[in-house]
């Protein structure tokens, strides 16, 4: 298990390659990469604040929970903080398993939980000023999908 919370950019392709490399027992790797989206073309920057200490702890707990629910050979979470611009990669997760169903479900689960349970907050800046991104009810609702311990 590899959990990284960092200000620096990460190399998505290189991380995917490294994560998938040199494993013998696995059959499936799933990766997710989150990108700063610019819907209306007006976003200038996104500032990500986090809670040092708790962030790593929460991500580790989420990853451990995924490891209890599915047969994972490994998982990786990288999440950035600080100032990002549209098109930049915010974060990624990767899961490796013998079977694709476990790898998919675990990656999906990691994303749902870190969206709403890891202490990150986003603030978006446009020409009109800056505003904290509100949590989406859809993101909270997504957690109910994993209802064994929602």
């Amino acid at each position: 298990m590899d959990i990284r919370v960092q200000e620096a950019a990460f190399d998505y392709g290189a991380e995917c390659a490294r994560f998938a490399d040199g494993r013998s027992g696995i059959g499936a790797v799933v990766t997710f990469c989150g990108v700063v989206r610019n819907d209306g073309g007006s976003l200038q920057a996104m500032e990500i604040e986090h809670y040092p200490g708790m962030t790593e702890r929460a991500l580790r707990q989420i990853a451990e929970e995924a490891g209890k629910r599915w047969a994972l050979a490994d998982c990786l979470i990288i999440h950035r903080y600080g100032r990002l611009t549209p098109g930049e990669r915010i974060m990624m997760v990767a899961t490796a398993s013998a079977h694709r169903a476990d790898a998919f479900a675990a990656a999906d689960f990691l994303m749902d939980y870190l969206k709403s349970r890891a202490p990150f907050w986003k603030k978006e800046s446009t020409a009109d000023g800056s505003e904290w991104v509100a949590a989406k009810s859809a993101d909270e609702a997504a957690l109910a999908r994993w209802s064994r311990r929602a």
Binding site: H50, R57, H79, M91, S116, R117, P119, F120, W132, V133
Partner: protein
């Protein structure tokens, strides 16, 4: 009892500081929130809608009726928006 209190995102902005050390006899998070809100307007404003506030005790998410016994670090923040 001495607590380290942390604020994040718009709670940090409304309170006007990222962290402070507070001496209190509050037994629960609720009591602490009431105590802070009574102290100054900026706290009352920050805590005016508790449905939009989350709390962590020693870096674990908690409820507002949770006990502060043995707690060293309390953090207040809005619902998280990671990913």
């Amino acid at each position: 009892m001495t607590l380290e209190i942390l604020y994040f995102a718009w709670l940090r902005e409304r309170v006007g500081l990222p962290r402070e050390t507070v001496t209190t006899e509050a037994a629960t998070v609720d009591e602490l929130v009431r105590e802070l809100s009574a102290r100054e307007e900026r706290y009352a404003l920050a805590f005016s809608d508790l449905s939009a506030v989350r709390v962590a005790l020693d870096q674990d998410l908690a409820d507002f009726d949770a006990s502060l016994a043995g707690v060293r670090e309390v953090a207040f923040f809005p619902p998280m928006t990671g990913g």
